[in-house]
Amino acid sequence: MTALLVVLALVSPGQAAPSLGDAERAELERARAEVADQIQLSAYDLVDELVAGWLRAPLFGQPTPVVLGGVTVPVGLGTGFAALVENHLSQVLIQNPSTNLELVYCPACSAVVVHSGPEATVIARGIDQPSVLDQLGADAGRHALFVDIEAEGAWLVLRARLTRLTPDLPVVWSYTLASSASSPALLRQPQMLKSAEDAHHEYEQTLRARGPVYIPARFGIRSYAEPSGNGTNPPPFLWLQTGLELGTTEARAWTSSVLLGYSIVPQAYQGLMLQARLHRLLTGRARSLTRPNLYGFIGGAVFTVWGAATAPFNDDNALNADALIAALEGETPRSRFGGLHLGLDLRVGERMGYSVFLETMPALRNNNNFGAYAQFGLPFQCLGIEVGFWF
């Protein structure tokens, strides 16, 4: 049989596509470029996952030359995108030599080769004619890697196969991996490639390694409502607090905290406080590692404050001239009282929190130096805001 061999083509050619105007063509190109931008990171992610798989389970026991047989990308996105994916694959393979895949350059493999022998004349790529490659001396790679990426609905699917370049061209390994369009790209570093599963596990371990005990540090301001009569309300108190916070479970749906606080404004006041709180997560049954968590809390605190500006806590009547004179004569006012509070705590990134609360001081409910921000059976004389950090 000396005839020229050709691959059979049994279907009639498709209908010619309707001609597009310049404006339509430009719009189509714009849409294609936009899609390529959007899925580029997802395609890189799939390639990273492919190479991470080879890191975990290398295909070869020792470094083996492999020809990159071809990288194809979603139909409609053009060859520029294919070049990007090919470059990324090469970069990741070069930076991870323990995959044991060594990309080699084989120009005869990708070139179209015409081979005329006693049986036939064959026109095909070198990679499809291993016997011709042998004759050309192009024995640099004994395996060829093919990678295909395709957009299938909302999924980006990567397929890869490795073919041994012997006359039988057996496929020795194949792999299919899909990524949803709604999954964010992991943006992995090529030098320390990890699988998506390993990266997620490491992320969780890092968070959990902090243990059930947190050490919060808070800066807060307590502001006291102006009285409706002749009284003089105390100035806002600035508090620095720290202590311990414990969660009942990893979910941290319930947490409790005990904090010690100190407040000072020279020449005006100083104070100490001991505060206990119980927090309940309001946004779900378990804290989110990725989104803000909102807690509601109730708590109690005992305060001792002293200094000239703390006189309003001491006097259950309106501040008068006698009290001021006593203070000037060196009798530093000092007061101890308790408070109950309730509020909301918004925690962001498991590191920062912002809270607002109302506090009632039952012992001072008849003190004319205080008004009320709200009345729930008891007057809530104090409004507090806090910024917290967790370590």
């Binding site: 061999l5 050709v6 049994l10 899609v35 899925i39 909302a154 699917v157 989110s288």
Partner: protein, 208 residues
């Protein structure tokens, strides 16, 4: 009360065309029904699952995602095949495996005939991976025919041409006795399904 009930339907996140989504927007979505645990695994933190102790609420979740390629970026015919590429090729591989168990030790060759050469290449790649996943030995070899054979075969109707080509593959030795050739065929440009046939020892049989 009726107004409140209407508001419930107006503001729920329903992917169907309506007041919140146009038909074009809805057509761009790819939606799947899942149970709550599968949906929670797919979208952690976004789907509330039933508590371990159970409750009286029956949950099912429809997850939707926008298709990667907007309508018009590629032809409707290509899109119909490529959108379901994994399911199509996996179904064909499963069917071949179950209907021809005696070919489990054969070497499978794959070819595809689609009006678009790019789509044909995608079909071949996906089918080879699907066959490999079913544990079959696959090769990148392709059977070839002489020019004279090709000239005769292209003049035949497709339904006759494929069995005839199969016989010529075997007769010419291009397809060995230990080979099984899976051919994916798009017979009519109006179709959105694929046909598949298997050629073994010169005998052709349609798989679907």
């Amino acid at each position: 009360m009726i107004g409140l009930y209407s508001l419930l339907f107006l503001f729920r996140d329903d992917p169907a065309p309506g007041l919140r989504h146009s038909k074009a927007e809805s057509r761009r979505l790819d939606c799947t029904w899942l149970d709550d645990h599968a949906a929670s695994a797919r979208r952690p933190g976004q789907v509330t699952t039933a508590p371990p102790s159970g409750d009286s609420v029956e949950r099912s979740v429809m997850l939707c995602a926008e298709r990667l390629l907007a309508p018009g970026v590629r032809s409707e015919g290509d899109e119909a095949v490529l959108r379901e590429l994994q399911a199509l090729t996996n179904g064909i591989a499963a069917s071949a495996s179950s209907r021809f168990p005696d070919l489990a030790n054969s070497t499978w060759l794959v070819e595809a005939f689609h009006p678009s050469a790019l789509v044909s290449a995608k079909l071949i790649f996906a089918a080879k991976n699907a066959l490999s996943a079913w544990g079959m030995a696959v090769s990148d070899r392709l059977p070839t025919l002489a020019v004279g054979d090709a000239g005769v075969l292209t003049s035949l109707a497709p339904l006759s041409a494929y069995p005839a080509a199969c016989a010529r593959f075997a007769a010419s030795g291009s397809l060995r006795p230990t080979d099984a050739l899976l051919t994916l065929v798009h017979l009519d440009s109006r179709e959105t399904i694929l046909h598949a046939g298997i050629c073994v020892n010169g005998a052709w049989s349609w798989l679907q």
